[in-house]
Symmetry: C2
Subunit: 259 residues, 2 copies
């Protein structure tokens, strides 16, 4: 612990990327230039930090789950955005002794993170915790695997963060925006319901996070440059190009502002 995140315990908005977008609709996300400004005031990821990626299948990325639990390990990281983001930091900062872990699990909703956070988060004592969760919360409600609503998502997500902050008072939280591409499984009638989940994640970020990574906004922009299928064939799971773009966005926001 270097003490840099211990001034006050509860997070403030001072270290936050940019405010003022909570609650706005999709139109305001059409341009995400401002959102992709990195955190400038202080490095979010400091030398020696443990960085943990948490989430569902998008974070999972096909990782091996019965490994030794080693940091910075390709097999245990999978081949998704989390690995590409971790490698981006590890390559650019080889002397910083960063230890990166991936504990995403395919199919997870917020409640599943809650069930396994003791083992898959608190036990790792991350300095930086990046969470991407939400698409299954809506998807499973749509296909009748769940009766939960966007309000349930926000309530459960806030409870998970409260519990996390109690266990790890100094953790720097990165909230990632849930996203879908308009292709594959994702039909027009996913909207505006999906926007409620995005807005909930944004509100939680405003209240608790050091940074917000606007993945949906990024993919909306990217879909004007290449078909949505290029970024995520089924509308939900990124292709290699989609994962690359996510890693860029994550690094720009989280690691772009270091001194």
């Amino acid at each position: 612990m270097d003490g840099r995140r211990t001034q006050g315990g509860a997070p403030t908005r001072r270290g936050f990327v940019v405010g003022g977008l909570a609650g706005v609709g999709a139109a305001a996300f059409a341009s995400c230039a401002e959102e992709l400004q990195p955190v400038r005031r202080a490095p979010l990821v400091a030398p020696g930090d443990v960085v943990l990626f948490q989430g569902d299948s998008i974070t999972d990325g096909g990782r091996v789950r019965d490994g030794a639990g080693a940091a910075n390990d390709l097999a245990e990281f999978g081949r998704g955005y989390a690995w590409l983001a971790a490698v981006g930091m590890l390559v650019a900062r080889p002397d910083d002794g960063l230890r990166c872990y991936n504990r995403g699990v395919g199919g997870d909703r917020v409640r599943h993170l809650d069930e396994r956070f003791e083992r898959d988060c608190f036990a790792l004592a991350p300095d930086v915790l990046s969470v991407l969760i939400g698409v299954n919360d809506l998807w499973h409600a749509r296909n009748s695997a769940s009766t939960a609503t966007a309000a349930d998502y926000e309530r459960e997500y806030r409870a998970l963060i409260d519990r996390t902050r109690a266990a790890l008072p100094d953790v720097a939280l990165v909230v990632c925006e849930p996203f879908v591409l308009r292709c594959g499984h994702v039909t027009d009638d996913w909207f505006p319901a999906f926007d409620d989940y995005r807005a909930a994640a944004r509100r939680i970020a405003d209240d608790h996070a050091r940074a917000f990574v606007p993945f949906h906004a990024v993919f909306e922009r990217a879909s004007a440059l290449a078909p949505p299928e290029f970024w995520a064939k089924d509308g939900i799971h990124p292709t290699a190009a989609g994962a690359a773009l996510m890693a860029q966005a994550w690094l720009r926001v989280v690691d772009g502002g270091r001194a």
Copy 2:
């Protein structure tokens, strides 16, 4: 033209990433943290700029060559690092009116760039020109398709840059380090010969470029985190993960320092 690059015509080292590594051997590249610092003094890519990627098959990335010649077009950009780097800028800076082009051609050596630079560079009048060339200069010499040496490579490359600076006095040049991974076609006896090509590119960058992107150093680091085959199966052509890492490095150096 915004005049920001017209103060003096010839480039100086003031805008350069970092000095002092020219002519050193592979050991000094073991850590590339310092090299990956972005250009901080001024944005290298300014609003309204034309950005051109030039090179061989690695830049080509399978692009369609009989298209309309439109900027920012996926088909005409291919699916390699150049597209991922261009999209990274276009998504993060949607209001900047950047126009990005790819004119890489598989199999090219420096002399082939020279043959087609009138059409494939000067006619596009780029504000920023990124060049990645060199691996074929050695590869073709090894397989007897050429008798050229590293000294020929440097001489031809310098002549190409001189000609380019005469045609485009204000162009901001980005020189990319040629790279190989130690797998596939690339056997141990590629070294130390290959280091001569890298060192030549670095010297040219020191003399003429606004930025140097240390791809070989990046892949050396990355090969400690995942097998070289993960980044480039045949040792020369990047996988999707390799292309993603290249785009990250390029963006960090070239576009990481903008205000």
